[in-house]
Amino acid sequence: MVCFCSQLNRPGQRHWSIIFSTASRERLKKKKMPFISKIKRQTDYNLFPSSTPIVIDNGASYFRIGWAGETEPRVIFRNIVQRPRHKTTGETVSIVGDHDPALLKYFDCTRSGPRSAFDNDVVYQFEIMEYILDFAFDRLGANGSGIDHPVLITECVCNPVHSRSKMAELLFETYGVPSVAFGVDTAFSYKYNQQHGICGQDGLAICPGFSTTHVIPFVGGEPVYRGSCRTNIGGYHVTDYLKQLLSLKYPHHMARLTWEKVEDLKMEHCYIAPDYFSEARLFQKGTKEAEDKTRCWQLPWVPPPTEEPPSEEEIARKAAIKERQGQRLREMAEAKRSSRINELENELHGLGFLLRQLEQVEANDIPSFLSATGYVSKQEIESSLAKVTQSLRKAKGEPKSEQAEVEEKTEASMNEKYPLIHIPDNMLTSEQVLNPKEPKLKKKKKKCIIIAIVIKLLLAMVSIQLKEKRRQIFLKTTTEGRQRAKQKRVEEGLERERKNQEDEERRLENPELYAEQMRAKYKELSERIDQRKRLKTNGSHTNGNNTSGGVGRGERLNAAQRERMRLLTTAAFDRGKGEDTFGAKDEDWQLYKLMSRDNDDDDEGAEADEAELARVSSRLQEIDPKFVPKQELVPPQSAAEAPRLRPLTKEDFQIVLGVERFRCPEILYHPNLVGIDQVGLDEMTGVSIRRLPSKDEDLEQRLTSSIFMTGGCCLFPGMSQRLEAGIRMIRPCGAPINVVRALDPVLDAWRGASLYAAKLQFTEQTFTRMDYYEKGEDWLRRYQLRYTL
């Protein structure tokens, strides 16, 4: 009875999207259904008598368990264990096999990756093996105390005795199994197919498995392990290779390329090309056949929502709002302006009033009168009055042409302001010193007194005049300087404009070349800057570490420091052997000038370089959409993201499988492609035949006329033809070559084992617990199953 659980699909199946070939864009019919694990608990455990053996095919990829004599294993699942933590309760649980990813969301799977009990194809982690066996027996329906059935379990070819004994111990001690037998899965598969007439009694069995590939010659129905051969390459490596290639090609979609998904892709689309290079040439030339063979996986992608043009209502409404806002702003400005005008007018009136009062007051009382108001002299009042009237005029909104006039006035007034500059020093008079702005003063009252005082004051005043003059010169030069600077800036701007124009012309006439030049320049500049930075950080790093202050012998990494040392040592050695006369001549000290100059140059150069770099990179970004500006920081993740300067299109979300389709299974024939220095499938047959103990041509011919393929990896389309062609190359001309495939490469091993265990003589081949403890490890080492019963 076989129970089928349809709800437990393989993980990853839910996320499949349309897969189509770029040429035809039709929905492809899936050739092979993805493997569905059977993990429903069996209910008929108790119906089987104690003598019925349990048959286990313990493979590195899948674990299959069932009853002897049946054609299908009862329970099949992936041979992995996960130990995640439950999110809410926090306890660590064990989950065996692959399960619905929707249920796994209750668990925190970040720290627990799937773990396998296998290392290559040998079981070494028996704790995980125990979890797996627990799960398997539990799902088989085991209850009661102990497993009371003999167990036939598969192992790898020439299993190390350590692994074998630990497995036996596990079965005997923990599960209470009465007797155990170990067998090789390839042999079982061969025997099964032999009975069905697929292969003869003598033949070669080739089994590309999950992590290893074996070739075992069968002579007289029994495997000859002496002639067998094992390469450490298998389906795992093919999937891993495909995953790496796709991740490198599409770094943005790395999250989508999970192991399960890539395995599905491999099973669905990979094939073996009859001749690798001719197939690659098709793709290189871009022929129509290559187009047909390319498969394209479209990831789910939502185009960004297109903005609808706003309707007329919208536009009108928005315009009205803008209008209202503008109106409000204008009103506010108007209010402010009128208030300011009022203020200024008030001030004007006040000042006018003050002036009129001043005229009435006596000249002598001016200072005392003015001290109350806060102004020192009449001129000051008059100047502030002028200022106020000017600002009032401006506030009232005089047209701009007035401003030019005002500027001219200021120019003229500047000349007036600096009259003293033009007068040579010795001709400055006391009047100009006292009132530099207004030359004329009311001399009437001061006539007689001044003549007497002037002579006294003249001496003191000259110095004050000089000071004034210097002040005016200073002011004039600064304003002139400012003007000159402004002019220079304008000129520079014009110059830059001109250069940009030239650049544009150059770019238009030869965009490719221009882009190349730009890129080269960018690279050069960035390298220079990087180097300088490296030197700088190296120098500062070592300087930070030193406590003594001097640089030690091993830390002189900075080129400048090295140069310095070199100069110093050559200076020391340049003199005669006995004396050190450095410093006797003055020119010797120029040495230090050489040293410091190097450091200074660096800094100045660096700034100019960086500015240039910024300019070049911005230019490049404009003209070249594919340009990636190098980031200053070094995190490797950022290097993977190119700035998207154009909107994402549907094509960006497509993963194209072209050459990868046949490149990945190629590693089975050429393990060198992934760095494994061993023979591939076709050569392995030659090696195996060579290793046979007896050199019998007849036997060899019989072997090659029945080449039997089993194992999951031989499901690749084109495998048989390629293998045949490969073997023909290494066998003598005219030898009969016949490559056959197992009826069901995946399940035949289990079926063979099941048939074997159902035979009556099976019990002779098992060993019991007593045997295991009495006979010891050496016996276990020599234990081999006899396959022809």
Binding site: R41, H86, T89, V93, S94, I95, V96, L103, L104, Y106, D119, N120, V122, Y124, Q125, E127, E130, Y131, D134, F135, F137, D138, N143, G144, S145, G146, I147, V157, C158, P160, V161, H162, T174, Y175, G176, R226, S228, C229, R230, T231, L245, L248, R281, F283, Q284, P636, A639, A640, V659, H670, P671, N672, L673, V674, G675, Q678, G680, E683, M684, V687
Partner: protein, 124 residues
């Protein structure tokens, strides 16, 4: 535990009737389990295959020798035939366009491509 998790019987139960020794007895909590198990290399070393006659097949004996055929030179990035290689990065490339790509790769990608071929520089 949520209802559907229990229903799917996702989690391995801690007590199983057919076992003589339960997991929690065998591996008490708090003990580190990882170091118990020997890896394949250590297992093979402990096997002492040199003590046994070399004719007898054992795990190490039946390993395949290196290939006699000349090695296939494929372009690392595209998979086409690659007669050239870049001396700076050691990557193989098929033609000038691929070469441009090769030169523009950041160093992390270069190392990953080389690691595919097992040719990356591994600093230990």
């Amino acid at each position: 535990m949520e209802a559907e998790v229990i229903e799917a019987e996702l989690v391995l139960p801690t007590y199983l009737s057919f076992k003589r020794v339960q997991m929690y007895e065998k591996y008490p909590k708090g003990q580190s389990r990882g170091r118990h198990w020997k890896h394949l290399k250590q297992i093979l070393q402990a096997e002492n295959y040199q003590n046994y006659p070399p004719d007898e097949p054992n795990y190490v004996n039946i390993e395949s020798p290196p290939s006699m055929h000349p090695c296939k030179r494929l372009c690392d990035m595209t998979g086409y035939k690659a007669p050239y290689y870049d001396p700076r990065t050691n990557l193989r490339y098929a033609n000038a366009e691929v070469f441009k790509l090769v030169r523009s790769l950041p160093s992390e990608y270069v190392q990953r491509y080389l690691a595919l071929r097992n040719a990356a520089v591994v600093l230990k």
